[in-house]
Symmetry: C2
Subunit: 320 residues, 2 copies
């Protein structure tokens, strides 16, 4: 039902997962599969009357372990692999109506511990090469369940975007002996015009090279490559910076802002002293009522057109 | 108002073009800027009472020549360039209500000559490295003007996706002495299960490695690297295959199918014997009423999840 097919022109794997067509699609609130199972109620994914934070395997996974042998043979140019890996769902709270921005700081701090624990646990599983923690939020992003939740994909390969970044970071390290993220953050802090918040351990910045209108990167000052390396106090500070960012987004246009939140971390295998943990946010709005679409130039060419000025976006987020 | 900013982590240029925020957004039909200028009517982009096919520079361009000096200084890690290049609009017909699929075969044949002429003309302009002919169709793709039209971007660099493909194609050529596209097409034709139409000069195929649910590639059998190399009879056959494809899309779900149509061609400079002209279609629907979104896994990781089986999609398009 699911397999990896090789795209020889891009040199990447595509996940073919046809059973996902049947996944739950905007159910009524009473039938939310991410809510607790109420007494005498509809049986949800969580067979408990209540929960704090819940983690479980996605019922419609793109990647699974064990995974079935591929049902199709490849072409000579296009090998096929079984789609081994793990897809997990993390419910942030049992409160169906909440969003990340509504969580208490102590709840987000707990959540950082859950992410860290899942990162470490998935990292040591055989065949896993990259652990991706993320949240898709809002209908505009394509989310089919509104209950506040994030996801984790444990990939059997390093996906093309982090692979590309690691390559760029490695080259910079070989040339300078320093991590590109550290250098870039210092340059942003000196310039100042795109900094949203500069905390002691983390900073939130609209990068000079933002591809999305209100793109924000949360970058650490401690040189950590993954959640696995962070001290409790750093996780606490990360929680605060994440919460501050999503709350600014909500104040920006006066509605609950959809976004993609993506955590970039070191691959599981090998030593990568040149890379750094980073959280990137991609909200889809370019104004309060206009969406940024990824059309031909972005989708086919890979070149982004940003209709906003990163310096203006940072100012608006600072003031929000 | 527009500049190229370097993304050091991806090694790519981002176009920052803030004046595009003001571009015309879903105007009423009577105020369509791509219609002919009716006597005593609103002055459109085309100051003529009628036209057959019209080409002009985009009034809200991402790339322009001459282009102003960048208004901002870069960071050490993030240089800035002026956004030199050309953005053109091609109106397929003066009929506001038509779509590509409604055009006559003779009109599409004319259109292939216009594309070819624009490709050749833009290719020899100083500073241009890649000419991208494409169409964004439909509100779901983010199109803000419904009048049937395509676009051309003449880039001052080879964009990251074709750059990546050229690299893969070059490696295959060095290893085998053959073009990857020729080998891949032969493998698809032998297999047969993903071929939508096999013509004498072009074939339409849902590729084994399709990333989008009803992705179709139109590939030539004559080894051409660009429109500039094609004979009139080949342009005629291309027109027929394009028209056949978009009409199948419309019949697939019984409505006018939105899509991104993207032409991949040889870069302007240098000799690239290993590459081939190709047209790729990315429709955004995975079923008649469900869209495929590019969420966290696609946008942040670059890994695509296809919820459909390419073999099924090809069968449905063959039968459509």
């Amino acid at each position: 039902m699911s397999e990896l097919r090789y795209h020889p022109f891009l040199g990447t794997w595509v996940i073919t997962a046809t059973h996902r067509q049947e996944r739950t699609f905007h159910p009524p609130d009473d039938f939310c599969p991410l809510c607790p199972t109420r007494p005498f109620g509809f049986p949800t994914e969580i067979p408990e009357p209540d929960y704090d934070i819940a983690v479980f395997e996605n019922r419609f996974p793109s990647l699974t372990t064990p995974s079935a042998e591929p049902a199709i043979e490849g072409l000579p140019l296009c090998p096929v692999l079984s789609s081994q890996g793990v897809c997990e769902v993390i419910c942030y709270t049992s409160d169906h109506r909440a969003t990340f921005a509504d969580l208490s700081l102590s709840q987000v701090r707990k959540l950082t511990r859950v992410w860290r624990e899942r990162f470490i646990d998935l990292s040591v599983r055989p065949g896993i090469e990259y652990v991706f923690v993320f949240e898709n939020k809002g209908r505009e992003i394509g989310v089919t369940l509104s209950h506040p939740h994030g996801q984790i994909y444990a990939f059997p390969f390093v996906p093309p975007v982090p692979a590309r970044m690691l390559d760029q970071e490695r080259r910079h390290f070989e040339a300078t002996g320093r991590a590109m993220t550290d250098d870039w953050l210092n340059q942003e802090l000196v310039s100042g015009s795109r900094v949203v918040v500069a905390g002691e351990t983390f900073a939130a910045v609209v990068p000079f090279f933002a591809r999305y209108p209100f793109e924000v990167h949360i970058v650490g000052r401690m040189g950590r490559r993954s959640l696995g390396e962070m001290e409790p106090s750093e996780l606490d500070d990360l929680a605060e910076m994440l919460l501050d960012t999503v709350r600014r987004y909500d104040r920006l246009f006066g509605f609950s802002m959809p976004y993609i939140m993506a955590m970039f971390q070191s691959p599981v295998a090998g030593d990568h002293p040149y890379t750094r943990f980073r959280v990137e946010f991609y909200p889809p709005f370019r104004t309060a009522d206009k969406l940024k679409y990824l059309a031909g130039v972005e989708s086919a060419m890979g070149t982004f057109i940003n209709d906003t000025l990163p310096e203006d976006s940072a100012k608006r987020l600072r003031e929000a």
